[in-house]
Symmetry: C2
Subunit: 353 residues, 2 copies
């Protein structure tokens, strides 16, 4: 494969536009994938806008990728042409450090190679993501999409799904636990589904009375309007876990006081300084824990896909024509999507032909 | 018992002065104790100075109490006259809530009754602490001091000891783990001893080169001067646990980055807002945990005393004449004590006679 059509952001503009780019030749342990669907993650927007000051243009976003195998390298035995497969946030890691050896490639001591805006460990080339007709990825970072899953709705499981599934498992959420889910976007609505499937009692926190019925429709057993002091106070000390998916700064203290002793507040969306700051007493006086979690490793990424197939769980998506990507970004920024845009890559092929 | 001589702080002064106070009559489940020793905790100073705005004067501080049983109520079977016993930070709790039923009275949902400046659950009277000749305490909040322990050096185990022992156990420190201890005061030096006794590799963090040999003498396998950037950077990602005993605001971020993935930073000293604030990325990108812990429950308070007897562990103390208590407070504030003052209550009896 020599060329693929993609949508890229360039340094002279924040919007995305068509681009023709080189995809690397197949290595012996590579899988070539024709992309059918790619989810739109808020992280894509951060990279396009260079919000974190680390974008190298041109950048092709997209790390919730589902497609069909078109070719495999000589050394690949697990995948064959025609297989429906997925690629998430990582495409390589050192494979040798302790986290890598334990299937926690996201915490690779040398840093995982990100699916886009990353640097290939072999030839130093930049990685390009899933807003594209095709991608070539090392076999160990390709997962199988179970047949029972709708491929389009499975795409967001590769970031939004694994990001919420992994911490619920790691921090020990079990049937009967009381789990609060803060935020009801792409991550939050998946958190509700997973916590329910595990058997937990799920309470959604929303700032708006108008979203109560929506939260119930998503499967929440209870809904608390976080701007209602009486509702918040009535829940003091009630929860075993909070799954906090809010990606912007917000006050954690009111939520910490809703945890019982030994409760755990899990951050998966916030990667900024915590403002307003946490009062240490909220941790000390209840032996509470403030925890973080980042996506999930490759074994667990396969696990979440299988879990979703077993439990009939899918992401709620809105299918997107790639020509409307810039408008979609504006809607994501406003929280105006239920709950994840997924690009139908057929629309990219229409432009290219 | 009707009267006991004590040292109390009054609302018109910050220093301590002699006082004669009523001790309650023995109830059927009470133990009356003649106090021999009482440790001086920084918390005592906070209460005397009303730093937390909750002091009710007169306050008799002291919650690291060791003495001899002088009488027991009709319903007491576990203690007899002459037994060497201890009283820590709590003297009662609701006994019925879930934390209480699990021996975690410090997290009692109604709040434990503190040893001083607390309110008796039966008659509403104020509780008075251990800077006193005598105390009357419910049997369930009295622990046995093992014979092998020096009673004076055992006193600080009832706060400084249990406060550091409990989180090492609860958060799962085991032999071979790499544990950092931040702060080398009353709490920190006990943390070193406990972590070593468990079989962990212990590193002490100190701001001063001058304290390196002192830390080694305390049993530290390694010492890192935290003001030396090179030493700090060389330890990035090294530690499984940090036991943070620093009671004043300090930047946690440099320490968080020294934790490996899944590492745990345990706060036991800080009960203020965390300033500077924690960067959420330091938790998310390594699945790290920021945790709190408060003293320990009654079963574990007995456990730490037995553990110290089994492992020949004692607090390093400086014996104090109660007439020098105000000077001792100034020295505690300056960190000028190795590592805990313990009041010899014989000096109070000299004044009283």
């Amino acid at each position: 494969m020599t060329q693929a059509n993609a949508y890229a952001a360039h340094s002279d503009q924040s919007g995305l536009a068509p681009l023709t780019l080189e995809r690397r030749e197949l290595r012996s342990d590579d899988v070539a994938i024709s992309i059918d669907y790619c989810g739109v993650c808020h992280t894509d927007i951060h990279f396009v806008q260079n919000d974190w000051g680390m974008t190298q243009y041109p950048v092709v976003p997209g790390h919730e990728i589902v497609g069909r195998v078109t070719a495999v390298g000589d050394g690949v035995t697990g995948f064959s042409q025609g297989d429906i497969v997925g690629v998430g946030c990582m495409v390589d890691s050192c494979r040798e450090c302790e986290p890598c050896r334990h299937g926690l490639e996201q915490y690779c001591l040398e840093g995982p190679v990100l699916t886009y805006n990353g640097q290939d460990r072999h030839d130093g080339s930049m990685t390009y993501g899933g807003y594209s007709e095709a991608i070539v990825v090392n076999k160990d970072f390709v997962v199988r999409i179970p047949e029972r899953l709708d491929p389009a709705a499975a795409a967001p499981l590769l970031c939004a799904g694994i990001t919420t599934y992994s911490p619920l498992r790691h921090y020990g959420v079990q049937a009967g636990h009381k789990v609060g889910v803060i935020g009801m976007g792409g991550l939050g609505h998946m958190g509700i589904k997973f916590a329910r499937a595990i058997g937990a009692e799920v309470t959604v926190f929303t700032r708006s009375e108008a979203k109560v019925s929506e939260a119930q429709a998503q499967g929440a057993h209870h809904v608390i309007v976080s701007t209602d002091d009486a509702q918040m106070q009535a829940a003091a000390g009630y929860f075993d876990y909070m799954l906090d998916t809010v990606p912007v700064q917000h006050d954690l203290n009111p939520y910490l006081s809703l945890l019982r002793h030994d409760g755990t507040h899990i951050l998966v969306g916030l990667v900024e300084p915590i403002e307003p700051t946490v009062h240490a007493g909220n941790l000390v006086f209840g032996r509470r824990v403030l925890a973080g979690s980042l996506i999930g490793g490759m074994p667990e990424t396969q696990e979440v896909l299988d879990f979703c197939a077993d439990h009939d769980i899918a992401c709620d998506i809105e299918m997107l024509d790639i020509r409307n990507i810039n408008e979609a970004y504006e809607r994501v920024k406003r929280g105006d999507v239920k709950y994840r845009f997924v690009i139908d890559m057929a629309t990219l092929r229409e432009i290219a032909t």
